[in-house]
């Protein structure tokens, strides 16, 4: 059958047009506006005067910005790799189960993921509240001093990190499980015939074959944890928000509480650049290091 190239091109264009239009409206246009706003002294609502790089120039000496960068990096450090490895380990375990039991266990691990963040907050506040938390009664029984988990800077990030892993691991487990199922059983049979032990089977077969999935999970985790906001906001409201500051929270604080849209936009641009650089870097690195074994 003969095809009309030009018609086909037009047809394709018509098909993607709705997407391009929406993408332009809700992503490209706001992003351009964001960059423009970051060079002004605009309040939250309305326009401001052009101030050049002032909003960026003051960031290095801004202590709250410093805290936010540090806390965000710290949070990424304690959640991304540990969370990914934990999900992998759980997926390996779940993979050994079969039938209904597997479905049931998987459901249990996946359940927290479907909870809204506000519910996650309430659950853990009931558990770890200093005066009435269930865990505190446990501490009392064991003779350990109570810990104000969400009110002390030393405990805050690790606790929120742990809760985040608990909350989001379900999705990563699902990805890993899907990956594990694509590895043909013949490979394992062949390895068994060659008398390969459990560890070397894992190291030589499962790990390298799973690498693309691991890289994917790492990247997804990295991007979402760089954008951490909800949990930190909920757990620190009223308490010590400025000590637990993370980048998105700082954007929110500058924009909505201090009414400084321009300065908030500058911080958002910095975060935008960090996310792009780090995720591209991460994806390239994981791809390269994965290719080495092949």
């Amino acid at each position: 059958m003969l095809r009309n190239r030009r018609n086909e091109g037009l047809f394709g264009l018509a098909l993607v047009a709705p997407f391009v239009a929406i993408y332009g409206l809700v992503f490209v246009y706001p992003t351009i506006k964001l960059f423009m706003t970051s060079f002004t002294d605009a309040p939250l609502i309305g326009d401001g005067n052009f101030v050049g790089f002032d909003n960026y120039a003051r960031l290095p000496s801004d202590r709250r910005f410093g805290t936010a960068v540090w806390n965000t990096a710290y949070f990424v450090l304690i959640t991304v790799v540990p969370g990914t490895l934990l999900a992998f380990a759980i997926a390996l375990g779940v993979n050994r189960l079969a039938g209904r039991l597997q479905a049931a266990v998987l459901a249990l691990f996946f359940l927290p993921y479907i909870l809204p963040v506000s519910v996650v907050y309430l659950l853990w506040d009931w558990t770890l509240n200093f005066q009435f938390g269930i865990a505190m009664y446990l501490f009392d029984m064991l003779g350990i001093a109570r810990i104000p988990v969400f009110k002390s800077t030393a405990w805050f990030m690790p606790a929120v990190g742990m809760i985040t892993i608990w909350w989001t691991a379900g999705f990563s487990i699902l990805l890993f499980l899907a990956g594990l199922r694509t590895i043909p059983t013949e490979i394992y049979e062949a390895a068994a015939l060659d008398n390969a032990g459990r560890w070397s089977t894992f190291r030589r077969i499962t790990w390298p074959l799973m690498w693309p999935i691991t890289a994917l999970v790492l990247t997804i985790q990295l991007i979402s944890q760089l954008k951490i906001f909800d949990q930190v906001y909920l757990f620190s409201v009223g308490g010590r928000p400025n000590d637990n500051m993370v980048l998105v929270y700082y954007v929110f604080q500058r924009a909505f509480q201090s009414d400084q849209g321009g300065r908030a936009a500058a911080v958002a641009v910095v975060l935008f650049v960090i996310v792009i650089v780090v995720s591209v870097l991460n994806f390239q690195l994981t791809r390269l290091s994965g290719g080495r074994d092949r």
Binding site: I45, D62, R63, F130, Q131, P148, K151, N242, Q257
Partner: protein, 424 residues
């Protein structure tokens, strides 16, 4: 063809009917942030209003989350013309709102239409809703903090005076002695304090600063002169109580109320809006004998921090309010003010003078007992940075929590607060 004609006629008729109904009853959309015991009272007031204005005005009320969520939503919705017709607002947030241009002025004509005016309010309350001589809200109440106490526990410890009020309300030494007596009598927490929430503790700390005539902001400068020292003194008292085990530590707001109502804390510094909680519990036979009084005088003279709930009209961008709507909204504010005696059962002190001067109000307890504090009220400094969920709250809160729980020295906290405020 005749069918078409009939149909069109019917549609037009139906449309006409609907508009005339809409004209007859004006719907006023309303947002508030009253979620606790006072929320129940406000819903009652709204229902009463709707009943009294049946067929004329109907309030369509929505309650949103207090604090940051409420004010974030108001700011953005006014900017796109999606704000309600009327909303409740904290007087402390008015300077920022006016700077952002999200409030409509309440004009002299409006006041006249409502039958309200300057002479109906205490000068400080009127001043709190005025910016450059223009008014931007109608005050509904003032809501200070008070000292709640458990009469049974105080009597057991021998610190309940003959007048039914706690002993030692006149000085730091005497009040600390009262707390110690309670501790000695086996009370777990003599004083329940919201020590996990610096936002809340701002009220207590600022009251104590006021007792020394300290100012948060003097001519645009934060903690000028010896005000910094006065802030340090205030923090020192509270952290001393923590160190001596007289005060609950790392306690958030709901936990504080729970500690008090369960009898684990003998006294509690909290807002008057918890009065309905106590009244309701007591009526159900689930509470001890209790009372509420003005804060103790820890420093030179009595002083209590208060904010004021007001009614404000959002300046909806691109949407002019129709004269009918405006008349309806003015009627809402006028009616609510004049019927605010019921609002006093929520603990708040009504702003409308004729109500607080009435014999009915003077017979209300414990409202009447603590109403003496109205003479000693201080409000937030008038700056766009102040107010509920504002940046000043955040900076101070951040250092109040470690200080009040014994992690940080008061002097260090004041230093950090000054640095933090300078960065705003």
């Amino acid at each position: 063809m005749p069918n078409w004609f009939k149909l069109t006629k019917a549609v037009l008729l139906a449309g006409g009917l609907m508009t005339s109904v809409a004209h007859a009853e004006e719907t006023v959309t309303w947002w508030d942030f009253f979620g606790g015991g006072d929320g129940v009272r406000m819903k009652q007031l709204v229902a009463d209003f709707n009943e009294a204005h049946k067929g004329k005005i109907k309030i369509d009320a929505t309650t949103l989350e207090w604090g940051t969520p409420f004010y974030s939503k108001v700011q953005t919705s006014a900017a796109v013309g999606e704000a309600p017709d009327i909303m409740t607002y904290h007087a402390s947030r008015i300077p920022l709102a006016v700077k952002q241009g999200i409030l409509q002025e309440i004009t002299a004509d409006d006041w006249k239409t409502m039958g309200l005016g300057r002479s109906d309010y205490a000068p400080a309350t009127w001043e709190a809703v005025s910016i450059d001589g223009k008014q931007y809200a109608v005050p509904l109440d003032t809501h200070p903090i008070v000292l709640y106490y458990n009469k049974d526990l105080l009597k057991k410890a021998g610190v309940l005076g003959d007048d039914g009020k706690p002993k030692g309300m006149d000085s730091r030494e005497n009040f600390t002695a009262t707390l110690k007596a309670l501790k000695a009598a086996g009370v777990k927490f003599p004083l329940g304090s919201v020590t996990a929430d610096g936002n809340f503790m701002f009220r207590t700390v600022y009251s104590f600063m006021g007792q020394q005539d300290g100012e948060l902001m003097t001519d645009g400068e934060f903690l000028a002169g010896d005000s910094a020292k006065k802030l340090e003194n205030s923090l020192a008292v509270l952290s001393e109580w923590t160190k001596e085990g007289l005060q609950s530590t790392y306690t958030d707001y709901p936990a504080t109320v729970a500690l008090f109502t369960s009898g684990e804390a003998a006294m509690m510094i909290n807002g008057v809006w918890e009065v309905p909680t106590m009244t309701d519990l007591k009526n159900n036979g689930k509470l001890f004998e209790w009372g509420a009084v003005e804060l103790p005088v820890i420093f030179d003279h009595p002083s209590t921090y208060a904010d004021s709930h007001t009614f404000a009209l959002p300046a909806n961008k691109g949407e002019e309010m129709s004269p009918e709507k405006r008349a309806a909204v003015l009627e809402v504010m006028s009616w609510m003010s004049k019927n605010s005696l019921f609002w006093a059962t929520a603990g708040h002190i009504p702003a409308y003078g004729p109500v607080t001067n009435s014999a009915e109000y003077k017979a209300m307890e414990p409202n009447h007992t603590y109403s003496s504090l109205t003479a000693n009220i201080i409000f937030d400094p008038k700056t766009p940075l102040a107010g509920i969920a504002g940046p000043i709250f955040d900076v101070m809160s951040n250092f109040f929590v470690p200080t009040l729980n014994g992690e940080m020295e008061p002097a260090k906290a004041v230093e950090e607060i000054k640095a933090g405020l300078a960065e705003l």
